[in-house]
């Protein structure tokens, strides 16, 4: 293999892979700009005629609720969930990773087991709990569980990361007279930033896309999220709604894309170090 080939081959493969990988996304954006008849009949990626009105229709919103309101609701829930998960998972993870206490093994095993249970079967018991608390049709059922570290995946992630931090940190903190609380706040937490940022990004994306829980707990149209709105858009049976539906799809994923581009370098850094700190 010549030197030039060696340099260019990876780039060629990467570029080719990129085309295949991003084709579905390009298709989504292209279709959102096509007029209704082209959506059904034309296989060309490039729209024959740009139908910008798909976006104006989508922007009108659903059930008299504006898209800005829907996006705002989604944002509120997602941000609440991010704060909740970061705070509660880091607290629990610190205890599991760095402190000794009775029942630690049993509690940890239980937490891991919850990862393996399909969540559909606990849906109704959980609904009963939130209904008893009068929280149905508020955002509490969507956000409160995050403040209670119910997402074992993230606790596990942060535990794995914290375990990789050197022991000596706490030793010296103890000598300086720091208790567990100050050690957590001043030493462990700042060092765990990559894992916490990973938690934040994943929580944001997953909460944003979590149609199921939102569908069960939200009632009033003005409390609806963009994900719910997209779903009711899909139900429109008339042909003319195809373009706007894909326009709505693009609008619904846009915030995730923006969020990712702002935080992506931390994500990679966080993920890379989370499971692997040596």
């Amino acid at each position: 293999m010549t030197i030039a080939a060696k340099r260019w081959l990876p780039h060629t493969v990467a570029a080719a892979g990129l085309l295949v990988l991003l084709y579905p996304l390009a298709w989504l954006v292209a279709t959102s700009l096509k007029p209704a008849d082209e959506v059904v009949t034309s296989l060309d990626l490039w729209p024959g005629r740009f139908e910008w009105s798909n976006y104006t229709t989508a922007l009108e919103g659903v059930s008299g609720v504006s898209v800005t309101r829907l996006l705002g609701n989604s944002m509120l829930i997602a941000v609440g969930a991010v704060i909740g998960n970061v705070v509660s998972c880091s607290l629990a993870a610190y205890a599991f990773a760095r402190l000794r206490f009775r029942m630690r093994k049993a509690m940890f095993a239980f937490m891991i087991a919850t990862l393996m249970l399909p969540h559909h079967v606990v849906l109704i018991p959980q609904y009963i709990v939130f209904n008893q608390l009068g929280m149905v049709d508020t955002y509490w059922p969507l956000v409160l569980p995050k403040f209670l570290a119910t997402e074992a995946f993230f606790v596990f992630l942060v535990v794995q990361f914290m375990r990789g931090l050197p022991r000596e940190l706490e030793e010296s903190a103890r000598i300086d007279g720091c208790g567990p609380f100050r050690t957590y706040w001043e030493i462990i937490l700042p060092l765990s930033r990559p894992a916490l940022i990973t938690t934040a990004i994943f929580t944001f994306i997953w909460t944003w896309n979590d149609f199921f829980t939102q569908m069960i707990y939200l009632f009033a149209p003005e409390n609806a999220t963009i994900t719910l709105a997209l779903r009711s858009f899909v139900d429109q049976s008339s042909t003319s709604a195809f373009g706007p539906m894909f326009a709505m799809s693009v609008i619904s994923v846009l915030p995730i894309v923006l969020f990712f581009f702002v935080f992506q370098r931390y994500l990679v850094q966080g993920m890379a170090t989370s499971g692997l700190k040596g």
């Binding site: 659903v62 008299g64 109704i124 001043e186 719910l228 858009f233 139900d235 990679v268």
Partner: protein, 444 residues
């Protein structure tokens, strides 16, 4: 790779930001809590919750009708909620299991027995008798569709009827006479064969078939069964047909498909909307469908599209007026009186009727239906006329609501026929499996 930054940051920043965020968030999350908590909304008034499924057009009109109701009933506030059908079913089930359904809920025919039989719905017989809910303008037999064990639990909002969207140009080319209300299943089979024999080419180069394959559609089977004097259910607890009936029906469809007279298996399984149906894709000349979605066909496929009758057996029609949706009152409602009034208003108020139009199929109230019908044009007018013509021709009375378990049987029906289509089971074998599965679902 960005360089890992493990250095400590000054805490005041982090602390302040977190505190501010938490405070802001707390306020924001609490807002919907105080503004929208269900039940009594303070003061003297009653707050009713009303949920239903459907699209945006229906949403806008329902909202408008409900606001009119509020104006006429000072002190009553109605909170509406809508979702897409699949989500709606799941949501209502969760609510029923977890503490009660909304005060007023739109229900599917298939839900009535389940909800009524387990006490999730308020019996409405009393409200009907004391005329809080007026039924004078409704057909008595049609009202029976909302009953369980002879008690009225829900009232039909609109009525739908099955029919047959077909391309009259292709029918003309094949020399098939315009389908009349008395045409038979064997006429239909011949028509399909003749169309396939024309050898017309679809956009993707395959031969155009006569029709979609309704073998997996429980509604088609029901029409077929009723036209032969049978019924899906015997009362509200038992299956009304046998393994032989079903085997015969599935063999009939299976044979036509194998001959190439009706749509291929893969085109049937892919169909989930007008656009993706064999007819919508130009692969078939007709599609068995309901009246409400028909205008979508004529929009998509143009002026030669017509709405014809479902085939009969020797002239006996198997189709009937089926409630497209019903309205019921939740058993846990704190305002049964107001809830019943809202039901009555949506069903019988003339202005509400004008606002709602045909968004929930032909209104059950005859006076309103006739009044709104005068405003219809084109395809909507065609389906209204079709329903009138079928009524004149003579249809049997609709059955009472199907038993609980019907929803599972319907999906099993589709699935088992799919196994036939792809050669995974013979019609006989699949029919036996379906009967077994159905009897399990119907087990008390």
């Amino acid at each position: 790779m960005p360089r890992p930054r493990n250095g400590r940051r000054p805490h005041p920043t982090r602390r302040t930001v977190l505190a501010a965020a938490a405070a802001g968030l707390g306020t924001a999350l609490a807002a919907p809590l105080s503004a929208c908590s269900p039940g009594n909304g303070g003061g003297r008034g009653a707050v009713l919750t009303f949920s239903w499924w459907g699209n945006d057009d229906r949403a806008a009109r329902t909202e408008k009708a409900v606001r009119l109701f509020e104006r006429e009933h000072p002190g009553v506030t109605v909170r509406v909620s809508n979702a897409e059908f699949g989500s709606y079913l799941q949501k209502l089930t969760t609510q029923a299991a977890g503490g009660g359904i909304p005060d007023v809920a739109q229900l599917d025919y298939r839900q009535i027995s389940q909800y009524a039989g387990s006490g999730a719905l308020l019996p409405l017989g009393g409200a009907v008798r004391d005329k809080t809910i007026r039924t004078a303008e409704m057909d008595g037999e049609f009202l029976r569709t909302g009953t369980f064990d002879d008690e009225q639990y829900a009232l039909p909002m609109g009525r739908g009827i099955t029919g047959y969207a077909y391309d009259s140009a292709v029918y003309g080319k094949a020399g098939i006479p315009t389908p009349r209300p008395s045409w038979t299943w064997s006429d239909w089979a011949d028509a399909n064969r003749r169309i396939a024999a024309l050898g017309l080419k679809s956009p993707d180069g395959r031969t155009v078939t006569g029709s979609n394959d309704g073998g997996g559609n429980e509604d088609v089977f029901e029409n077929w069964l009723r036209s032969r004097g049978g019924s899906l259910y015997d009362g509200q607890t038992r299956l009304g047909y046998t393994e032989d009936d079903l085997t015969e029906f599935w063999t009939f469809c299976d044979r036509l498909r194998k001959e190439g007279a009706i749509a291929a298996a893969r085109d049937t399984t892919q169909a989930n909307s007008t656009e993706t149906s064999p007819m919508g894709r130009g692969l078939a000349a007709a599609d068995y469908t309901w009246d409400a979605p028909y205008p979508g066909y004529s929009d998509l496929l143009g002026a030669s599209t017509r709405f014809g009758p479902v085939p009969t057996a020797g002239g006996r029609a198997g189709t009937y007026f089926k409630p497209s949706m019903l309205l019921g009152v939740g058993a846990h409602t704190r305002h049964p009186e107001e809830a019943a009034r809202l039901v009555d208003f949506l069903l019988n108020d003339q202005r509400a009727g004008d606002i709602l139009g045909f968004t929930r199929s032909t209104p059950g109230n005859r006076a309103i239906a006739a009044r709104v019908a005068t405003t219809l044009t084109d395809a909507e007018r065609e389906i209204y006329r079709y329903a009138e013509a079928m009524e004149e021709y003579g249809l049997d009375a609709p059955p009472a609501a199907p038993p609980r378990g019907d929803l599972a049987i319907q999906t099993a029906f589709k699935r088992n026929y799919e196994r036939v289509m792809f050669g995974l089971a013979t019609p006989r074998h699949a029919a036996r499996e379906l009967i077994d599965a159905a009897n399990r679902e119907l087990r008390p």
